[in-house]
Symmetry: C2
Amino acid sequence: MSLSLYQFSVPVFEGSLAAFLGVLDKAEAHAEARKFDATNYLALRLAPDMFPLTRQVQTFCDHAKNASFRLAGAQPPVIADDETTFAELRARIGTTRNHLKTIDAGAVDAGADRDIVFPIGPKLKMRMQGPDYLMHFAFPNFYFHLTTAYDILRSAGVEVGKRDFLGNIPRISPV
Amino acid sequence: MSLSLYQFSVPVFEGSLAAFLGVLDKAEAHAEARKFDATNYLALRLAPDMFPLTRQVQTFCDHAKNASFRLAGAQPPVIADDETTFAELRARIGTTRNHLKTIDAGAVDAGADRDIVFPIGPKLKMRMQGPDYLMHFAFPNFYFHLTTAYDILRSAGVEVGKRDFLGNIPRISPV
């Protein structure tokens, strides 16, 4: 069977982004049950010098979007980092998912041996081969921020578990 | 270019496991500088009903090992969950890496369309196609526990950053 780079990238980001909407649902339900404003979650951090929830969400969204567009040989669209409410955080994920839907699977697959050039920080640009970039840079970064966002909410008392993090696993069946 | 399932699996786990040894180095250095026993880290949790550091490490090691062996069509070796010191946690990662080194790349590649049967919890067994299992189950689980282990140490004051988490990214060059 021949493997497709698309299958290893865009739908994987997409599944994890969709799952995180479910995590946000449970966070919002928790806030409602405890009668506090869900906006209070946005500034929570695991340490004073770590990113707060809002920035964790923005960052994992951008890793999903940027990696997917770069693998397709396209310029990633820029989304403003201006979310200040829970609904806007949800919309950020929605916008990111909509962008992912526009990506042509054939363009990703055709470019499996394409070199990816991407910024690290404000000045440095790096080059990696597509699959290396996806597996050794994009996914570790994506899951780093996705899990930390989950951990922020989980440690704040939101009743989520690994199943919420995993979401709907595609094409799985009981034996 | 034809893609290899091996390239998307074993070396990716291996790189992240190696990176975590560097995170543990910094944790131990922090304990030494602050004159406390590094063993104190082992029972730390982000929430009272989450796994402590030791179990997070055992779990991400097992996801790496089990996924890699299953993709190769082999029975994953079992490692006892009996670590009680920092050195033993390090050794657990070392043993896992040694197991990964025994995996035949050709066996993984040859089995890209193999169905993987794996347990979820004590009773249930599930079936997924190899690449789906890797990308939609094994990696999300692996990075979930790896990042949470990092987050436990980071929130406990250990001076680590994203670079430590990413470790040595292979085949990357400045532009």
